[in-house]
Assembly symmetry: C2
């Protein structure tokens, strides 16, 4: 049985939640998935800062102290050696009406195993017909309302490792679990948040590191035509770091320069994550 | 304490759910809200048929027998006199990966009170900047991933009763809790499901009843220009039936013919709901 921390207490097995909890009933909440290495949650401060900012935008009360207590509590269960953590914040119990405030939020921290082989593992993609909705602020937050990404991931099942999602304008947005970068020469391009993508923690690290490694990185727009003419593509994700894209819709994607980039970047993505 | 039915048993207070439940973690599930009159769930068969169809599309196992048992169990708690029911289906517990199947679904039936004054009550709207994503099949299902509607409803809070949501093409889709109809002379127009709207049960009843009451009804597209030139607009919802729209973005909406339509239709919307 995995250990869970739920609203101030360690719990084994099922958790008790109110049948009116808005996270359960309406996907009304947020989450973060965080890599654990050597017993430490990597880039915890950035994950919590992102959750805090989104919670503010959604007007969900969020206690940083409670989140830190939950993380610390789950990390201490050493026998389990979690390799990743998930923090889930729900708006909590509320009666009637979509816009009502709740009686108070609920916070859940769960521990997960992680296959170390996924770090840097090459990935094949298909383009999903399910689009990211850049016309909603939720597309820039990690909310519990994940059904579009789930539908896109199911699209890919049995055909590819993951799905590429376009936004409703038909431009490249992200995969169902990661940000997308295009590489052309020494230039790196990733869709801007306004394209309907989550500002990922590893995406942010790649943008930060680029200049010091001799790359020019920017946020912008990537059309499908652009995607067809780049030297290489890769995905970023907090648990999987940088992974090269090897196929898109059954056609090979170029790999020029991508191995070199990954070799330079992957070991440095976690640097500085402990204050 | 309200009575809840959860996976085969009546429960008071909190329910026990797995911390890996996909409904809680990812909005991966479906719901229906059902009007109860005289102790009977209205249009129960249609609600369950819609849930079954969407569950099939999402590949979530759904037991009609279990749902009927849950509804019957909650309706029998006569001291509570629920005025509405909510059925919530989640994909249940699953480990890792967006596209994985679960160990089995979870089903929850909750009872709710309902203010009888909301039936037919006029409604003011503002147009939300949050759009319905017609590029996702989820826009045509009642999934637990409700964050876009929640954000739109919060947009309206303090400014209007509800928010009008456009789709990503900028055409009228729905309100955060109901379908939209436009009335012009004896012609009724409502956005087609392909516009990114849920095929509502009451929406379906209005389309069925129209001809017998001398209206020509059709599904199609409604632009904002159309909306400005109609005689009247109204919303439909399973709990609130037909409600006239009196204001849109602070400007009055015409009411020509709408009182007559509501007087003719509201009493008939529930006819035939018992087999």
């Amino acid at each position: 049985m995995r250990m869970t921390w739920h609203d101030g207490a360690q719990v084994e097995g099922s958790i008790a939640i109110d049948p009116q909890d808005r996270g359960l009933l309406l996907g009304d909440g947020l989450f973060e998935t965080i890599l654990v290495m050597n017993g430490r949650a990597q880039w915890l401060e950035r994950h919590l800062a992102r959750m805090a900012a989104s919670a503010k935008e959604l007007a969900i009360p969020f206690s940083l102290d409670a989140a830190l207590e939950g993380v610390s509590s789950v990390l201490k269960t050493r026998d389990l050696i979690p390799k990743s953590l998930r923090i889930t914040l729900t708006r909590g119990k509320a009666a009637g009406g979509l816009a009502v405030d709740s009686d108070g939020p609920s916070l859940l921290v769960t521990a997960h195993h992680l296959d170390p082989a996924i770090t840097g593992k090459p990935v094949t993609l298909i383009t999903s017909s399910v689009r990211r909705n850049e016309h909603s602020p939720a597309s820039r937050m990690k909310t519990l309302s994940y059904i579009d990404n789930i539908l896109a991931a199911r699209d890919a099942r049995g055909r590819a490792d993951d799905a590429l999602m376009l936004n409703t304008a038909g431009r490249v947005a992200c995969s169902t679990i990661g940000n997308v970068f295009a590489l052309k020469g020494r230039e790196l391009l990733t869709p801007a948040a306004s394209e309907g993508v989550l500002p990922g923690i590893m995406r942010g690290r790649v943008l930060e590191l680029a200049a010091s490694l001799g790359y020019a990185a920017r946020e912008g727009q990537i059309t499908l035509d652009d995607a067809a003419s780049v030297d290489a593509m890769f995905l970023t994700n907090s648990l999987r770091l940088i992974r090269p894209v090897t196929q898109l819709d059954g056609r090979p994607v170029g790999n020029k320069g991508v191995a070199e980039l990954i070799e330079a970047m992957n070991p440095r993505l976690l640097e500085g994550s402990q204050p």
